[in-house]
Amino acid sequence: MKLTDDETAIAAGRDGEGAAVALRLVADSGRLLGADALVPVASAHIDGCLYHGDSGTEFAEFLVAKGARVTVPATLNVGALDLLRPGNVRLAGGRREMALRLMRAYEALGCRSTWTCAPYQAGHRPALGSDVAWGESNAVVFCNSVLGARTNRYGDFLDIACAIAGRAPHYGLHLLANRRATVRVDTSGISEALKRKEAFWPVLGAWLGRTVGEDVAVIDGLAAYATEDRLKALGAAAASTGAVALFHVAGVTPEAPTAESILADRHATIALTPDAVRDARKLLSTAGGDAVDAVAVGSPHFSLDEILSLDALLAGRRVRVPIYLNTSRHVLGKLERAGRLAALTEAGVVPIVDTCVVVTPILPAGGGVLMTNSGKFAFYAPGNTGYAVQFGSLADCVESAVAGRLVRDEAGWQ
């Protein structure tokens, strides 16, 4: 690891102790990871603002007290509180206070109060080929894959350290050679009807993460079906079941005009089979029977298009079990300006912003069955909320919420 004279001076305290701590964290991590140098970054997305115990608050306040400030534009991931509708979150007493102090400390470091796991839906879209330092596994995979900006999976703390230092370790996905696909996924055995289904994409992601781990894959045969929201769902699921930080979709994502153009010389080919899709879909549900106690959508945070689809599927009907709509204050503001928010809440949709139902206590205590169309929610909800999960399409989620029991269209999946 070669630090520049400037970086050595910062690490020694030239720009204050806060900047020094940040630079040391970035440089030490880089050294461990085999980086040869630090690379300037254009922006950061910070995942450390979600409360998981007092240590995170203590670290953020430690940085504030040492005079640290971010030196590049930095958006904030979800916190543990809905700051616009505080009553949504049941976090109590000291924890609530520490969760709020944590969020305020990150604001005091100069980060933008975006409070979303989908900063790319709130205008944070770095340029193709630029180096950035992002945290939050779905944001990382979207940033690399869909935007073509370059980041590693910067965990909590390293993300804010990079934002303060304005630099990241030069290794991994910052290097073009590591962005080439070592796995080719052949989807020619999958029907067009399945590829057209919105729920195919998180299932594909769940399979991909479990199959490739951290390897970079290029998926062939999806060009006619991909949308930004589908790529978002694919990436979020793949980054939950595996450590996927980058995937390519041939003819769709910016670094893969064709599969051949991004494949590494040495690569494996895996054929996706209908059986594998069926198994991956099955694994996303943990509940039996037809009970559904709540529905949650929006992991990653729902886009305006996804909310409008939900609105259209509801078609003015009221739900028997609540639909928790997790989104950003940015997107909810757009929905409100479009005049659709009031009708949705009257129908029984519960908007949640700045946070989500899987990271903080929002769902009614006592557990039950949560239905979702999100591969990421399906993966994390049982451990984080105690709820068992039923996975289905957005239409299945809406029909189940209206009926108050599981309604799932099995056509096309057999």
Binding site: V21, R24, L25, D28, S29, L32, L33, G34, D47, G48, L50, H52, G53, D54, S55, G56, E58, F59, F62, G135, E136, S137, V140, N152, R153, Y154, G155, D156, F157, L158, D159, P169, G209, G213, E214, A239, S240, T241, G242, A243, L283, T286, F379, Y380, P382, G383, N384, A388
Partner: protein
């Protein structure tokens, strides 16, 4: 063969993860217990163990879970990774800046072959003693 990502010595019971596990969503930051309902070792506790992680996966919030376990004295005694992964090591680096004692982290390719029993990490190497 082994590489030290965060230095230190440790001793403890060996816990080899039988399936990939994200610390965030997979390990309770309050108790150190495995809480991922789909994980074959659901309910086992990572605290005080020589935790062998053949394939590090999952959420980038895992460093926060580990930092909280470190602060509360409930971290694994040592972490042995099958390949380098920044997410857990960062928690150890932050702990060092905060003045909290953090577990050693090693990379040992092929570490999934480790047997249950006792383990000892010293001088950048891990040695196992079968039960």
């Amino acid at each position: 063969m082994s590489q030290t990502l965060f230095p230190g010595d440790a001793e403890g019971e060996v816990l080899v993860l039988a399936a990939p596990l994200s610390f965030w969503g997979g390990v309770s930051w309050e108790t150190g217990a495995i809480i991922n309902a789909r994980h074959p070792q659901l309910g086992e506790v990572v605290s005080g163990k020589i935790l062998v992680v053949p394939e590090p996966v999952g959420s980038s919030s895992s460093s926060a879970v580990l930092l909280e376990l470190i602060r509360a004295g409930r971290a694994p005694a040592a972490i042995v990774l099958g390949r380098p992964d920044a997410i857990l090591v960062v928690a150890c680096l932050v702990a060092k800046e905060m003045g909290w004692a953090a577990p050693p982290v090693l990379v040992v390719p092929g570490c999934g072959d480790a047997q249950a029993g006792r383990g000892r990490v010293a001088e950048g190497r891990v040695a196992y003693r079968p039960a």
